[in-house]
């Protein structure tokens, strides 16, 4: 039996949950079933709402303005990326990862390539690895900048949003000159990258780093030191290290709660072991800590980029001809890297066929969102928005 039909047979044998209908309409839509008669009410926030960051839907049970209970409903932007991976060659899935997380597209794209390379022993030239790291860090900064703007907008400040977007625009322009695309990159391919850096890249990148540093000073004055901002975030939405562990939270949110774990240092991949950078952590675990950790991370990313620019080796950037058909080796493989939101894992189950048997992405936002729901109980609506913003969820990455 060939690939797809064999798979269909496997799915047919899978025992279906008989309570499927009840799961859907019994648990997730409580407001349709019963209206509580204890003075509380349900508020359906999303999927269309200014601050649910895409299509997250929160069914809130409220007492006045106080959140008693919260039920997140996800799946509104499910596009079956993992299924798509099973239906084509490994290389045909290359455009997809960056569409899972449209803010950290480069990191997803590079991560997928590295997962496949590691699994099947494809070698990558030095220069390609340095270029990949550098553009990934640029991507991390642009993602954090967008988060910064959106977070302050959730808190009601509009100006930082547009200032951050201008900064992000500069980074996108720079990445555009390298990769040819602005948001959903398909830049890395198996064994290297598709295009070399343009000649004026180093100069432009250095100028950008300079301006970015001065802009961070502005943000510090405009936002970080603002009394209203402090009172909105200080001590709000505290996540304990125990919660971090039990929900498998990763990324800046975990590091803000005192869990010192960054894949780039804990399990160094690519060239991260050769680079000099710090992993910022804080112990408070509140919205302010998450904000400060991300800001420090942007600074560290700038440092990484500087080192990359300085030490960029010369040489080939990849195989002469793009690797369309990968020589596979049956087995299960796992590769993990650090996305702007936390640990991104690629689980790959390969057989002899040229397409993956199963490709699963372990995306960080799903775990982070689950932990947030516990913190929400007992807060006000405004805090709900602040906490949700501070977690930095990207819905297409959760739904895939």
């Amino acid at each position: 039996m060939s690939g797809p039909s064999r798979k269909l047979a496997a799915y047919a044998e899978h025992p279906r949950t008989p309570e499927f209908a009840e799961l859907r309409f019994g648990n997730l839509e409580p407001h349709l079933i019963e209206a509580p008669d204890d003075g509380t009410y349900y508020l359906n926030m999303g999927p269309h709402h200014p601050s649910t960051h895409g299509v997250l839907r929160l069914v809130l049970r409220l007492d006045g303005e106080k959140v008693i209970d919260c039920e997140p409903v996800i799946g509104y932007s499910h596009r079956a990326h993992e299924k798509m991976a099973e239906r084509g060659l490994y290389s045909q899935f290359l455009p997809n990862p960056s569409r899972m997380d449209y803010l950290g597209g480069m990191i997803y794209n590079v991560g997928y390539c590295q997962a496949v390379e590691q699994a099947f022993g494809i070698s990558v030239p030095d220069r390609a690895r340095w270029i990949r790291t550098m553009v990934s860090e640029f991507n991390r900064i642009s993602s954090h900048l967008l988060w910064f703007g959106a977070f302050i907008m959730d808190l009601g400040g509009f100006t930082p949003f547009l200032l951050a977007f201008q900064d992000r625009e500069n980074i996108l322009d720079l990445l555009d000159s390298v990769t040819g695309s602005r948001l959903t990159y398909c830049y890395a391919n198996f064994g290297g990258v598709t295009l070399d850096l343009p000649d004026d890249f180093a100069g432009r990148a250095k100028a950008l780093i300079e301006t970015q540093r001065t802009h961070f000073e502005t943000y510090k004055k405009l936002v970080t030191d603002n009394t209203i901002f402090r009172s909105r975030t200080d001590g709000i939405g505290i996540i304990t290290p125990e919660q971090v562990h039990s929900y498998a939270m990763t990324g800046p949110c975990a590091r803000a709660s005192g869990v010192d774990y960054d894949v780039r240092r804990a399990e160094p991949y690519s060239i991260y072991s050769e680079l000099d950078f710090e992993v910022p952590t804080r112990t408070e675990g509140d919205c302010l800590a998450r904000y400060l950790v991300r800001f420090e991370e942007m600074e560290q990313s700038l440092r990484i980029i500087e080192q990359c620019l300085e030490r960029m080796p010369s040489g080939p950037i990849g195989p002469d001809r793009p690797l369309i058909r990968v020589k596979t080796k049956p087995g299960s493989y796992y590769f993990t890297c650090e996305s702007p939101r936390g640990q991104l894992g690629w689980f790959l189950l390969a057989d002899k066929n040229p397409e993956p048997w199963r490709l699963h992405a372990r995306t960080p936002s799903f775990c982070n969102l689950s932990a947030m729901i516990e913190v929400l109980k007992g807060t006000m609506i405004a805090d709900t928005i602040a906490i949700l913003g501070s977690i930095d969820v990207v819905m297409p990455e959760i739904d895939r």
Partner: protein
């Protein structure tokens, strides 16, 4: 022009003519102010954010608001099926109408006062309170949880902030010895006395904060907190219903800034330029401050907003009032 007025007086009598002229002038002021403020706000926000703002229609986009109004007029006024129809339709009207009365109480210059009421300040606060009813009616009748939350927030916020607003103006009233706004201005312009903000700086600061909150402007815009309540009390209002709420908001901003200019900044007093010019300059300076607040600060949380009013502003303004009373008694 004088001939025309004389002809009108011959036909309608003096009182009706004056009423008509005043009404027309005030209606024009409301519309022009709102149109100017929308453009001004967009330009200031663009300046703050490093953008250009509206540029397409007219020089520097000055005609943009006019075209926006035409667009809003052309839109279909949808009334959702499950709203309380009468209240829903009345709400914007109730919110807007007191604005007309309030504008007539402001002293634009020494002889350009539409209603020279002895208890002018009290009337301002009385009619200002009525408009709150419109906001709450809109929130209540919309049959929408976001709108209801917005309406409820508006009521508690306005009640909390009316007190420091009133108390801070009372300090000025005590110093001037009258409730009549024109007379308060005259006290400041009389030989070398100086404007009241020099004697009452604390009252001015409290007044500006409370006035920003009273007009539901950021950072106190929690009744329409976009990121929390979508659009708050006017979530369900399309087309002109929304526009009238908008018009009311900008008119109230003009009114509170007008009262502030008259009470603290000497109203129409100033060198070289005629009185109304100075009055408008001061009003728009205060409005500029309010616009800058909006584009600089994040929003307060609801309970923090209440804390600010009840725990800080009201005790401060009470203390300020008592000190003022003591000083007046002793001096």
């Amino acid at each position: 022009m004088p001939a025309l007025i004389a002809a009108l007086e011959g036909m309608l009598g003096t009182w009706l003519t004056q009423f008509l002229l005043g009404f027309t002038a005030l209606a024009a002021l409301i519309t022009l102010n709102a149109m100017f403020m929308v453009w001004f706000e967009r330009k200031v926000s663009a300046w703050v954010q490093g953008r250009l703002g509206p540029m397409e229609h007219g020089p520097q986009g000055t005609l943009q608001t006019l075209l926006d109004v035409i667009k809003l007029l052309g839109k279909e006024p949808i009334i959702p099926a499950k709203v309380d129809r009468t209240t829903f339709i009345l709400a914007p009207v109730v919110a807007f109408l007191p604005a007309l009365v309030l504008l007539s109480l402001l002293p634009y210059s020494e002889d350009l006062v539409f209603t020279n009421a002895e208890s002018g300040i009290l009337l301002v606060f009385a009619f200002g309170g009525v408009s709150l009813m419109g906001v709450f009616m809109g929130g209540w009748s919309s049959n929408n949880k976001y709108a209801l939350l917005g309406g409820v927030r508006a009521v508690s916020q306005n009640i909390a902030y009316e007190l420091p607003l009133l108390l801070s103006t009372m300090a000025v009233v005590l110093s001037a010895g009258t409730l009549n706004i024109s007379k308060i201005v005259q006290v400041q312009t009389a030989g070398g006395f100086g404007w009241f903000f020099m004697y009452q700086p604390l009252a001015l600061i409290i007044y500006i904060i409370a006035a920003t909150a009273e007009t539901n402007r950021a950072p106190f815009d929690i009744p329409e907190a976009e990121s929390e309540l979508v659009a708050g009390f006017h979530t369900e209002y399309p087309a002109m219903g929304f526009a009238v709420f908008f018009l009311a908001e900008y008119t109230y901003m003009f009114v509170v800034c007008g009262v502030g200019a008259a009470l603290f900044l000497g109203g129409n007093h100033g060198p070289w330029l005629p009185g109304p010019c100075w009055f408008l300059i001061k009003v728009y300076f205060l409005l500029f401050l309010m616009v800058m607040f909006r584009w600089t600060f994040p929003r307060l949380r609801f309970d923090q907003l209440m804390d600010l009013a009840w725990k800080l502003l009201i005790p401060l303004s009470l203390a300020n009032l008592m000190v003022t009373a003591l000083v007046i008694k002793l001096v």
